[in-house]
């Protein structure tokens, strides 16, 4: 890789220097950070003494790649983690120091860490009846899973921002400009958060918020754990500071000065995790803790056309902008070359837009020989239907794809559902209520999902012939020759292998935990050749997440609740939609080959640049609007919010504009050649929308003549 002189200077900076490195996306900061890690290892610094801290696991990929380089030295491993990971480890080691902060009833009991699943589950069990009985939240309209999510979120914000969890309600109320009678929902949110907190404390249960609070506000104040940490990790590399929280920033401000070397990397105009407490302003405060500040200013990604486009879009977004984004005519024409958009004739319906996108992508891959991994298709929100429709269109045109998506309910993942159907079939002892028992359709879908290549017609025949109330019947016992022939011996044999495995499990009668059952089922059957998860990357990822989720549910639950059957209870939670596929995909290497389809935010946090970007549904309001959550408010609960202020429309507008500006700039800075705008008059649901992004681009192009605006005539942006 060609490194610039400024990157080299960061990589090779001598120990004893603490550097604050900032710059916009695409200027090569993370490359320098990963280079720095490699350099430290190569120059003999012990891996044991290096800590790489990132805001979320996916951002660690470039560092993991260096740390796992087979050419590297054997021995100790570099610690690559997040604040949460660090907190959990420290609380696990030093909890006896803070027993006064834990349960009074069980002061000597080792605290238990709650997984996300367990938090949701406990809220369901503890808060659910309370909410019903007291008629809490009676002026908001929201489903329960999200209600619990927001209560947990508030607690987490209190911990990472650093305000008392008892003041959540008061903060939200003070900033609320709406009707008097709706204010009580914040009191309700406070009451529920406090109830949950009290329950956790009573039983020594530590959710994420308590882990962070105990670590940052208590343990860190004790000399021994702090010195142990500082003493061990002499070299710090922290990337994407702007995506991290004030708690991390405070910790680092005390830690960095005592380190032997530090490289703190901060993206400008980013902060995409604000809704999770990220704070790009408090990140900048860390400049004070460093010896020097370096700014990377030159993009290593964008062409001149892209740069002109970025300048034009930024201009068109500002309030004072003239038409055309304030660009000179020649620059505007240059910017125009970096834009493609759905032509009018194909922009009436959503499906037309998808066809257009698929045609353009296929055209790039086939005719222009662009490697698929250099293309990304982005949507503000990527629903199943959109993803399915796009993937099938691209597949039809022979283009490979892969997807990154944030969390969603496990019950909506076919792979997870199929595994749970199998688990239920293997556990008649769960004695599920009728509504949780698998029906014929569940079995049909499960077979389709787990037997590779099985079509719905044969799956339907199999479910009809082979599924009985008492369970799955062996194919070998089907005597009707025609039916055997229709199902085919190939599928019959695979089915029997699966069934025999389940039968053996049942017969063994061992009370194996659900996650172990799932892991074995996956490893011994479903991941084998001939079964559905053998080559399906996405399904395998979901399966692995389900196993992780079931395991952490079990581990959290053990010792808390002994009265119920964990597996049964877990299955119920999945059915109710309470549990989500919350684990970030663990990417191996540089990610699968193929065109990436992802939500824009997920792409922005994946640290990569591409040649071509397709932006779908540019009229969707989700491009520039935060997710509305009635019980929480990321801005009001941030460190930057001034106590006593009221959240007004001006704030709303400003935050929306800022968000759009960051997203658009972030995407353009990660694009080398051209952006294609997907326009359709009616969205997927038949609603007509005109989005802010369309308005901005329209404004940018308004003064160009029809000829100059024409898409078909536009030559490809120059390299």
């Amino acid at each position: 890789m060609n490194l610039s002189a400024e990157q080299q200077s960061i990589i090779e900076s001598p120990t004893g220097v603490r550097t604050f490195l900032r710059g916009e996306a695409g200027t090569g900061k993370t490359t320098a950070g990963a280079g720095r890690l490699r350099h430290l290892l190569e120059t003999g610094v012990s891996a044991h003494s290096i800590l790489v801290l990132v805001a979320q696991r996916r951002l660690a990929d470039p560092y993991l790649e260096v740390a796992r380089d087979p050419a590297g030295r054997a021995g100790a491993e570099v610690t690559i983690t997040t604040l949460g990971g660090l907190a959990r480890r420290m609380v696990g080691l030093y909890w006896p120091l803070i027993t006064n902060r834990l349960s009074r009833s069980f002061p000597n009991r080792r605290p238990r860490f709650l997984s996300l699943e367990m938090v949701q589950y406990l809220m369901f069990r503890i808060l659910g009846p309370e909410i019903d009985a007291k008629d809490y939240f009676n002026s908001v309209t929201i489903d329960r899973a999200r209600l619990y999510g927001q209560i947990a979120d508030n607690l987490n914000k209190a911990a990472v921002v650093g305000f008392p969890a008892e003041s959540i309600g008061a903060r939200l109320t003070a900033a609320f400009a709406g009707e008097e009678e709706r204010r009580h929902i914040f009191e309700d949110a406070q009451t529920c958060a406090s109830l949950f907190r009290e329950y956790c404390r009573r039983y020594n249960l530590l959710d994420f918020s308590l882990q962070v609070e105990l670590f940052c506000q208590h343990l860190w104040k004790f000399a021994s754990p702090r010195e142990a940490l500082i003493g061990r990790y002499r070299h710090l590399i922290v990337d994407n500071l702007e995506e991290d929280t004030p708690a991390t920033h405070r910790l680092l401000s005390e830690w960095v000065p005592s380190s032997q070397s530090a490289l703190l990397i901060c993206d400008e105009e980013a902060g995409y995790r604000k809704f999770l407490g990220a704070d790009d302003i408090s990140a900048l405060g860390l400049r004070e803790a460093c010896d020097r500040e370096v700014v990377f200013g030159r993009t290593r990604v964008m062409t001149r056309s892209m740069r002109a486009l970025l300048a034009g879009v930024v201009g068109a977004m500002s309030d004072e902008a003239a038409e055309g984004g304030g660009l000179e005519r020649s620059e505007r024409l240059r910017a125009r070359r970096a834009i493609g958009h759905t032509p009018a004739a194909r922009s009436r319906f959503h499906t037309q837009m998808l066809d257009w996108v698929a045609d353009e992508v296929a055209g790039l891959v086939e005719r222009k020989r662009v490697r698929p991994e250099r293309i990304v298709v982005l949507a503000p929100i990527l629903g199943d239907s959109l993803r399915h429709s796009l993937v099938s269109r691209l597949e039809q045109r022979g283009v490979e794809t892969w997807t990154l998506r944030p969390s969603r309910a496990l019950r909506e993942e076919p792979a997870a559902q199929s595994l749970m159907t199998l688990a239920k079939l293997a556990h008649p002892d769960w004695r599920l209520e009728a509504r949780h028992r698998p029906g014929r359709t569940d079995v049909e879908r499960m077979l389709m999902c787990v037997l590779e290549g099985l079509d719905l017609t044969r799956a339907s025949l199999m479910a009809e012939v082979l599924y009985r109330r008492e369970g799955l019947q062996p194919f070998t016992r089907v005597t009707n020759g025609e039916m055997r022939e229709r199902i085919t011996e190939v599928f019959g044999e695979r089915y029997d292998r699966l069934r025999a495995w389940l039968e053996a499990f049942r017969r063994a009668g061992e009370a194996e935990p659900l996650d172990i059952f799932l892991r074995r089922l996956f490893g011994e059957v479903l991941s084998q050749a001939g079964f559905g998860f053998h080559q399906d990357f996405d399904a395998a990822r979901v399966a692995s997440n389900l196993i992780d989720s079931a395991r952490s549910f079990r581990q959290s639950a053990e010792g808390i609740e002994s009265r119920f059957d964990l597996g049964n209870e877990y299955a119920r939670m999945v059915d109710e939609g309470i549990l989500a596929d919350q684990y970030e995909p663990r990417r191996q290497g540089a990610g699968p080959r193929g065109v990436l389809i992802a939500p824009a935010y997920t792409f922005l946090l994946s640290n990569r640049a591409v040649d071509y970007q397709f932006w779908l549904n540019i009229d969707s309001p989700s491009w520039n609007r935060r997710l509305y959550q009635p019980l929480t408010q990321p801005y009001v609960l941030s460190a930057q919010w001034r106590a006593g202020d009221v959240w007004t429309e001006a704030h709303e507008r400003e935050s929306s504009r800022e968000m759009l500006a960051r997203v658009v700039a972030g995407l353009l800075r990660r694009c080398r050649r051209k952006v294609y705008l997907g326009l359709s008059r009616y969205d997927e649901r038949g609603y007509e929308q005109i989005g802010e992004l369309r308005v901005i681009f329209d404004y940018l192009l308004r003064d160009l003549s029809p000829e100059e605006r024409k898409v078909e005539a536009s030559p490809e942006a120059e390299s």
């Binding site: 309209t141 199943d384 399915h388 389709m448 229709r486 007509e688």
Partner: protein, 739 residues
């Protein structure tokens, strides 16, 4: 390319001179008001230097009008820019946009859903069941006539009526913007018992809990919450005012109090607002807070420039004269309280100087002397049509009935006479077609091994090309495939290849190959959650936005079924689709319909619809049925009223009484039983008179108006019918004699 502006008439040109401020336009049927307003919108877009993000906003009441608007504005403007300079919305669509822009302001989550009327009534029904099981004798003494108190049928009807009472009560309470808790307080403070209000308040509480549990809002909430959002955040309102510097409103006579309020707030003190409507066509007054008086008072407001669009080129002079006669009759209405309400008022309709369709010899027929039972009336009209239709193949014709059930009976008779029929009752055909299409496809997925189901799916997949011989061949072959899997997912044997090679598919092979790919995609999509499955199917099956929007509403409905009861199986979902398709369950989409029903596409066929549904449409010949004193009463003592239940004490209109109890709780005053019933008669008589006017003005050239004696044989012609018959020289009808 942009077309040159078309030439408006003088009265239209005066409206197009609009340059700002408030203007109100009273139009008559057929005066081209939508056309004028579209042209005005286009003119404003072209001539105003709109800032970034600003739009000319056009608001219509119903979806059907929206598409027409949109199309016209687009035609006037040509396809320039990315189309961000104007916006056409229905009032509900606009409210949804406002709420969806800041859901947090009004306590909603981002993905709030909108439940439709039937689902909302289901929630009311559940709550009422709880109410009655605790108080089985509730209301008997107060509201049920003594001789009905021990009749099971009457008691069942009373409980059914209670559901409607509560439904109206909740809607109106939302229109008043009062919450259950305030009602509860007002009830406690009111000196006497208000049993209906007591019941409805409790149901209202349970109903609101039900909505919250579903994460949903109803149609009334949309309007109420939009207004609340505008009032709660001045900055938000300011932003929207900047975005929409001009608002053009069509069908303004049908806006409810709250709907008008939204626009009033959006426009502000000094904003630009053009309201066009025809108060004589206000037909949504009963049980809503819409009133033609709102538009009339707007026209008189200081600062409002009042204009008229009195010329109409739609109808023949005789039809126009008849409509104008009805306006005149209304001014002298025999009932003083109806007269005082001015159900119909000038401007009268003026024919165009350049000429209207000419009168025909058989122009208007009002055989008032024919005393017929309902069935006789139906057969009479069917006979007339059988004779008339063969000679008028290029004419359009409609039979307009007062209600959907009456339409169903008429439909049966028209079919019996083998008349070519386009039935537009209950749900629009679009909703039925969408649900029907989805049902066929989902059914083929639920019964994936059945060839009959697959051929059904094929038929709807290619529903527009039914006459193609390849389609016929494909359907016939699909029905008989012995093993579907050998066609769809061949392994050892490929049915399609085998058939092709032995020449069994002379024309359909390519089609079947394409269909196979489609079905494979559908089959793979069955693994998605049901709403996503429906959206995926819809993407491939429909192109019209209205159809996609309806499919999307259906998707949301199925999803909420699964959420409420996770055990809901695929078969249950398919059955639900079938019920919607068969109209057993009414389904209202909030989609933006730009596929308006266009009568001119059906010459030589009989279109059957309700008077209400016919608004905005026109036919060469129109049959207006059942113009008697039940469907069109005049507040006479001998009239009987739809709202007055047979079992009710003293013929009380219980829905009106319920609303009256609500009104005293909200506005104060004293409730006296029976007053509301009397007032409802006056209101209903006024509205039905306008409905008659709407019916008459649907006719371009010929019009036939008939009446019947009703189920018990005691009904007489509607009072205005006498005046109309006299005007066209028809013979008088007198009770006791045939002529």
């Amino acid at each position: 390319m942009t077309k040159p502006w078309p030439q408006p008439r003088a009265s239209q040109a005066r409206i197009l001179e609009y340059a700002g401020g408030r203007m109100g336009v009273a139009a008559v049927p057929g005066s081209g008001k939508t056309w004028t307003l579209s042209l005005l919108a286009a003119k404003l877009v072209r001539e105003t230097r709109l800032e970034r993000g600003q739009q000319v906003l056009v608001v219509t009441l119903v979806n059907a009008a929206r598409g027409k608007f949109e199309q016209q504005v687009r035609e006037f403007l040509g396809e320039e820019s990315l189309g961000t300079l104007y916006r056409v919305r229905t009032l509900h669509g606009l409210a949804r946009d406002i709420v969806a822009e800041r859901p947090g302001l009004v306590g909603l989550a981002d993905d709030f859903t909108i439940i439709d009327e039937p689902e909302s009534m289901d929630i009311v029904g559940d709550a009422l069941q709880a109410w009655f099981s605790a108080r089985p004798d509730f209301g008997l003494e107060e509201y049920v006539a003594p001789d009905h108190r021990d009749k099971d049928y009457s008691l069942r009807k009373w409980r059914e009526e209670a559901q409607k009472i509560a439904g109206d009560f909740i809607k109106r309470a939302k229109d008043f913007r009062v919450e259950p808790v305030s009602l509860r307080k007002a009830l406690a403070a009111y000196p006497r018992l208000l049993p209906l209000a007591e019941m409805c308040t409790q149901v209202y509480e349970a109903y609101e809990r039900g909505l919250r549990y579903r994460g949903a809002v109803d149609f009334q909430d949309l309007i109420r919450l939009a207004l609340q959002a505008l009032e709660e955040d001045a900055g938000f309102l300011e932003r929207l005012r900047h975005r929409w510097p001009v608002i053009l409103e069509d069908e303004a006579q049908d806006s409810s109090r709250l709907q008008e309020e939204i626009l009033r707030v959006l426009v502000g003190q000094s904003g630009n607002w053009v309201r066009v409507g025809d108060p004589n066509q206000a037909i949504y007054e009963s049980f809503t807070t819409a009133s033609p008086q709102f538009l009339r008072s707007f026209l008189r407001e200081p600062g409002v420039v009042a204009r008229e669009l009195p010329e109409s080129g739609r109808s023949a002079p005789a039809v126009i004269a008849l409509a104008n006669r009805l306006i005149g009759w209304s001014a002298d209405h025999p009932h003083p309280r109806v007269r005082a309400r001015q159900p119909l008022a000038p401007p009268e309709i003026c024919p165009l100087p350049e000429g209207n369709p000419p009168d025909t010899p058989s122009g208007i027929s009002i055989p008032i002397g024919l005393k017929m039972t309902g069935d006789e009336e139906r057969r009479y009209i069917a006979r007339l049509l059988s004779e008339w239709l063969p000679e008028h193949r290029d004419w359009t014709v409609a039979v307009l009935v007062p209600t959907n059930p009456a339409g169903a009976e008429m439909s049966r008779v028209l079919r019996e006479f083998n008349l070519p029929l386009i039935e537009m009752l209950r749900t629009t055909t679009s909703t039925r077609r969408v649900a029907g299409t989805l049902y066929r496809v989902m059914n083929s997925l639920a019964h994936a091994a059945e060839s009959g189901a697959l051929s059904g799916a094929f038929r709807v997949w290619l529903r527009d090309e039914r006459d193609d011989p390849a389609v016929g061949e494909a359907v016939a072959r699909l029905k008989k495939i012995p093993r579907i899997e050998e066609y769809l997912a061949p392994r050892d044997r490929d049915w399609l290849l085998e058939e092709e090679s032995r020449g069994g598919l002379p024309v359909a092979a390519d089609l079947l190959r394409e269909f196979r790919e489609v079905v494979r995609r559908w089959q793979r999509a069955t693994l998605l959650p049901v709403d996503q499955l429906v959206l995926t199917l819809a993407g491939g099956l429909f192109t019209a936005p209205a159809e996609i929007a309806t499919a999307s509403s259906i998707a949301g409905h199925l999803r909420s079924m699964v959420a409420a009861a996770p055990e809901t199986g695929f078969d249950d979902l398919v059955a639900e689709l079938k019920a919607i398709a068969e109209s057993k369950r009414k389904f209202v989409g909030l989609g933006e319909d730009d596929d308006q029903f266009d009568p001119s596409r059906y010459p030589g066929q009989v279109v059957l619809m309700t008077n209400h549904g016919a608004k905005g449409l026109e036919w060469d010949r129109v049959f207006l049925m059942s113009v008697n004193n039940y469907d069109f009463p005049s507040a006479d003592a001998h009239d009987s009223y739809q709202g007055e239940s047979f079992f009710a004490r003293e013929r009380l209109n219980l829905r009106a009484e319920g609303l009256a109890q609500l009104r005293v709780l909200v506005e104060g005053g004293t409730y006296r039983i029976g007053e509301a019933t009397a007032e409802a008669r006056v209101e209903y008589a006024s509205e039905r008179l306008r409905l008659l006017y709407v019916g008459i003005t649907r006719a371009r050239r010929e019009l036939v108006i008939t009446w019947n004696t009703g189920k018990r044989g005691d009904l007489v012609p509607a009072r205005p019918l006498h005046a109309l018959a006299a005007a066209v020289g028809g013979r008088e009808w007198r009770e006791g004699g045939d002529s």
